[in-house]
């Protein structure tokens, strides 16, 4: 059963500063709760079985004073102090990298804003972070309230239309984790997740430099690119380096290199691309994108091949 407590989406195997603090707090409280549980039931057993005769009124009053007033006040005050003491650290500004994440029904718009003053890099449905650095996530939403939660890295924070909320994460080890939307946001809420990849600094730099480049479609995919543009996909999706400049749906410039499709719900391969293009309404009910099942199979396959090649 405990195996279910691990994995890429577990707060019990922390990979971030905040998640570690939260885990310490959780474990401390769990231990305290166990002690209190044993004490309460021990007292009950003592009172019923070991010494069932009435106690003196003086003793009972003293017991209620210490056990029912002093102990809870001291314990709760201690917890509150500890909790408040954590806040400055959580609220502190990040060091360099800022990432704007917008929760949209039902995917994630991710914009990297490096501190060096370079142009922002737009991506979607995947978050890459450098290990050991405090990264500031600027969260908002254009439609309804979402909540971003990467259990392995830290606590969750609501994404509220019309205002920007701020979440600072400091990953402590590299690896691939999973984030989800933690606030019910409509019919495909449960289909709104994303992979989180924590990389070393050099790997992250190389990755983001590669994302900065426009899409490079091989000559073999020219037919797929032409169909993609003709069919109007560019009205909603961007593929930098082509005429597709839509900003309604996810940026697809490097979609072929992402770890998942459809916001963390499908493996990124050609058959998933084909399924998604043909049956969006079945895969992600309520999504803005219409299904393109009326395109001939060969044309859908060509578009999928083109997208798969956008690495």
């Amino acid at each position: 059963m405990l195996a279910g407590c691990g994995g890429v989406q577990s707060a019990l195997q922390p990979a971030g500063q905040e998640a570690e603090t939260v885990l310490r707090l959780f474990l401390g409280m769990l231990a305290g709760a166990c002690v209190i549980w044993v004490a309460v039931f021990g007292t009950a057993v003592y009172a019923m079985r070991v010494s069932p005769q009435p106690h003196r009124e003086q003793t009972a009053k003293r017991f209620i004073f210490w056990g029912g007033i002093v102990f809870p006040v001291v314990t709760l005050a201690g917890l509150l102090t500890f909790g408040i003491a954590l806040m400055p650290e959580l609220r502190a500004h990040g060091g360099g990298l800022r990432v704007a994440v917008s929760g949209e029904q039902w995917w994630w718009r991710v914009t990297y804003e490096p501190s060096g003053g370079e142009a922002p890099v737009v991506s979607a449905n995947e978050l890459r972070l450098p290990v050991g650095e405090r990264v500031e996530l600027m969260l908002d939403s254009p439609d309804v309230i979402h909540s971003l939660w990467i259990p392995a890295l830290g606590g969750k924070l609501d994404m509220i239309p019309g205002r920007t909320t701020r979440l600072v994460l400091e990953p402590t080890r590299t690896g691939t984790f999973r984030g989800v939307c933690a606030e019910f946001c409509g019919e495909s809420h449960a289909l709104m997740a994303f992979p989180v990849v924590v990389m070393d600094r050099a790997g992250f730099d190389a990755w983001i430099e590669a994302r900065r480049e426009p899409a490079r479609a091989d000559a073999a995919d020219a037919a797929g690119e032409r169909l993609f543009l003709q069919a109007g996909c560019g009205g909603c999706h961007s593929v930098r380096g082509t005429e597709a400049r839509g900003v309604i749906g996810p940026d697809l410039t490097h979609v072929g290199s992402r770890l998942s499709l459809g916001a963390g719900i499908l493996p990124n391969d050609r058959s998933s691309l084909i399924r998604f293009i043909r049956n969006v309404e079945a895969i992600k009910p309520g999504a803005l994108m219409p299904s393109f099942a009326m395109l001939p199979d060969a044309e859908v396959a060509a578009i999928a091949r083109y997208l798969e090649g956008l690495e």
């Binding site: 003709q230 069919a231 109007g232 996909c233 009205g235 909603c236 839509g246 309604i248 219409p290």
Partner: protein, 368 residues
Amino acid sequence: MRLTLGRLLLLAAGGLVLAALVVWSGVFRIAASSGHWEITDWLLHTAMRRSVSTWSMGIEVPPLDDPALVHRGAGHFASSCAPCHGGPGTPPSAVAQRMTPHPPGLADRIDEWEPEELFWIVMHGVKFTGMPAWPAQGRDDEVWPMVAFLLELPRLDAERYRMLAFGEASGADADAIAGLGADTARQCVRCHGQDGAGRGNGAFPILTGQSEAYLLASLQAYATGARRSGFMRPMAELLSPAEMRAFARHFAEATPRAARRDDEPSTDPETLRRGEAIVTRGVPSEGIPPCASCHAADGERRYPVYPLLAGQHAGYIVDQLGAFRKGVRGGTPFAHIMATIAERLTDRQMRDAAVYLASLSPDDGLRR
């Protein structure tokens, strides 16, 4: 004899049995040849008038003074209404006249009705008469032109009626459309013009320059009812697959005659500016992609089944978007894409985009 409840009930039951006997025996002559008794005629007619008056309450009449509406209505009247009702200079068919009740001539009766009552009758038809309902329920934008025409009907002489309904096509060349018989071709070109550019006003969509794939898919959709239209379905379902291809090929390859833009596109710069923004950039915050991403003017960059919109009549575009938004249009297998977008457009956005698209020449190269 005293009147008691029991006797009354007995009398009623006896009446019912007698009525059932009359129906069962078949002595009632259902013959149309003898017409109605005067009292039956009066009763049915009064019931019809009262029903139409009651059920048309609350229908809002749009402006009907656009001459293009009369044109559009005239074309359909000539092919679908005149055979029973007759028209100016055109007697009704002798066959239809032996219906009971026989279809009335309309010219001298229009004044007895309000426009919303005419709308209701054309849209819903009349039970126990031969008057059918509109074949495309929900397409109000098709029925109002019929009303506009009917309101004009009392003032039409034979010559003007013939010009409205048939125009120059009454004497069209026998080979107006290669691959179509002269009679069939005449039915197409009398509204759409031999070059597909319509009749010199916004009454009919411009077909010239549309792709063959789009025209063919649209005709097929009209014929099956997937694209709902009371105007086009009766025409399209008469065409064989080969005739549909001939029609599509003809208008796809037609060269437009000298630019015929009798419907002056709006020159209001503010409207055009707003329209250009929607057409070329969309409204991303409202989930509206730019029109140009699918409807590029350059045929090479447009999926073959997508229509060309640059230079199309603004009124036609607005009507189609409205029908898409209402969910009553349908169309080619791609129509649901447009429907999802039309649902997000406001009336003003539709108008602005349509006016801007109409102001373009198809050769402008509507850019993405």
